[in-house]
């Protein structure tokens, strides 16, 4: 091989070969020293393309938010500056150096956060109904999330451009597909929160609504409504967030209040919620398990686990599987149809694990936007 190369390049000293030899040497040296630089520039370019699109999505979301606030809330002045200011609103995470008592701190923190959102939305949309205000709270949360995604990607892009450090750039480049997926998911939620449509996360609330519809209802905690439903000699106490506004309520408080009322005399508790599916699992698959099927900050889950443990009540869980892109997007048909399967699962668990005369609590967890009761 070396001999053959020798034949082409050094031995036949034509002008062309000298030029070729020089060019090849340069190309080799450039590639040797600048390969990483070229790769860095390519990655920066890909981040830049994504950043431009995320910026468009974020600005569209902000414009749609302002438009919806004006349409629904009919404010007197220009609300755009106030919306822009609130888009940058942040909440500082709790210090967990000494974790003792952090759940109560989290409870207080979340209530403060909710109070701020309610006050801001009330000021921005003074003529909106409570249901519409709940939807507008969700809408502005989506816009805020998109704004944060944009700012984080922009931060790494500019930092990478400034330092030209491949490791800084790689940090964001590696998670770009996941970031795009998240931004896509939030972008699809804009329409749902503008119009008040049920979303993927509403499946738990729909299951509860299907069980409790037509029975007398009462408020049992903040934004939580419950109904007693007779079923095959058992009493089902079904509760969900009070709809149809976009709210998840305080299901932990609802559960605690019911258990206090019943002095812990409950046979089983069934929680129904949307759950993230693994790649390959079909959308709308209904799976059964044990534990508290609830997401969020963890405060609700902790309190539910604590109270059920205190009364030694088994907790069953029903999960309705869906992709990240479905969670805040308008509900798709297979997910709505899956709620019927989940209702059947609830009934089957009740028959399998309880006797006539028992009391069962069924909690429909999730955002109740577009779902009455």
């Amino acid at each position: 091989m070396i001999l053959i190369f020798g034949q082409v390049l050094p031995t036949q000293q034509t002008d062309l070969n000298v030029i070729l030899q020089t060019i090849y040497s340069f190309a080799f040296i450039i590639y040797l020293f600048y390969a990483q630089k070229i790769q860095t520039l390519q990655m920066l370019r890909q981040i830049e393309v994504t950043l431009r699109k995320v910026k468009n999505v974020k600005e569209e979301a902000r414009n749609q938010t302002v438009k919806t606030f004006v349409e629904i809330g009919k404010p007197s002045g220009d609300i755009a500056p106030r919306v822009d200011r609130f888009m940058d609103f942040f909440s500082i995470g709790l210090e967990n150096m000494d974790p003792s008592g952090i759940v109560d701190k989290m409870d207080h923190f979340l209530k403060t956060n909710k109070h701020i959102y309610e006050a801001e939305v009330k000021a921005l949309a003074p003529n909106a109904t409570p249901t519409e205000r709940n939807n507008l709270e969700n809408l502005i949360e989506v816009s805020q999330a998109l704004n944060i995604y944009y700012k984080v990607i922009r931060h790494f892009y500019l930092l990478g451009k400034k330092t030209m450090n491949i490791y800084v750039i790689m940090q964001v480049h590696m998670i770009l597909p996941q970031l795009i997926q998240m931004v896509e998911a939030y972008a699809s939620g804009i329409q749902a929160f503008q119009e008040g449509m049920p979303i993927g996360d509403s499946v738990g609330a729909i299951v509860a609504a299907k069980l409790m519809h037509g029975y007398p209802q009462r408020d049992i905690a903040e934004e939580i409504v419950a109904a007693e439903v007779p079923y095959e000699g058992r009493t089902l106490i079904v509760f969900k967030a009070k709809g149809p506004g976009g709210s998840v309520g305080n299901p932990d408080e609802g559960l605690i209040n019911i258990l206090e009322e019943r002095r812990g005399k409950v046979k089983i508790i069934i929680t129904v919620d949307a759950a993230g599916k693994l790649e390959g699992e079909p959308v709308g698959q209904v799976s059964e398990g044990i534990g508290a099927a609830i997401g969020g900050s963890g405060k609700e889950k902790f309190k539910m686990e604590e109270v059920t443990n205190r009364h030694k009540i088994p907790m069953h869980a029903i999960a309705i599987k869906q992709g990240m892109e479905h969670v805040v997007a308008p509900l798709i048909e297979p997910l709505f149809d899956a709620t019927d399967k989940a209702v059947e699962s609830v009934k089957r668990i009740v028959l399998d694990y309880t006797e006539p005369g028992d009391t069962v609590i069924v909690a429909g967890i999730g955002n109740t936007i577009g779902v009455g009761q």
Binding site: Q39, T50, K53, K55, M174, E184, G372
Partner: protein, 145 residues
């Protein structure tokens, strides 16, 4: 736009792509020339022609590698838009079971008493709100899973 909050826009220039694509272009031209020389010399001097062909092929392989190595980690961004989807509301009359499907309107919600039934004197209730069924995805290689 006031919503921008003083954000710095991505650089308007295409410096990053310019350098990368210029490098790819140069290597591509050299490889092409090499292949041309290879074909030209193939009849008279096969050994030398093979070296030219090898260099040309290696050049194109390097370009392919350069383009390919960044691609798998990025996802398609075409879907990154705020899109509107068609959502339908299904109404049912609990008395006569009449069913009607219409476009979603702001204010609709599941179990809302919506409008009088056209067949009987009952009130139609919204029983379902959902987006149009997604089109079946094309079967891919992993469909056996």
């Amino acid at each position: 736009m006031s919503g921008n909050q003083g954000s710095t826009a991505p650089a308007a220039g295409m410096t990053a792509s310019w350098v990368a694509y210029a490098a790819i272009l140069i290597v591509g031209l050299l490889s092409l020339f090499s292949l041309y020389m290879g074909f030209l010399n193939y009849a008279d001097n096969t050994d030398i022609a093979l070296v030219y062909l090898f260099i040309g092929a290696a050049g194109f392989a390097a370009i392919g590698y350069m383009l390919f190595r960044g691609k798998p980690t990025t996802a398609k961004t075409e879907t990154l838009v705020v899109k509107k989807v068609e959502v339908f509301t299904t109404l049912e009359c609990p008395k006569c079971q009449q069913k009607r499907v219409r476009d979603f309107k702001r204010g609709d919600y599941v179990y809302k008493d919506d409008e009088p039934c056209t067949r009987c004197d009952g009130m139609m209730i919204i029983t379902k709100i959902s987006r149009k069924k997604e089109e079946e995805k094309k079967k891919d290689e992993s469909s056996w899973l």
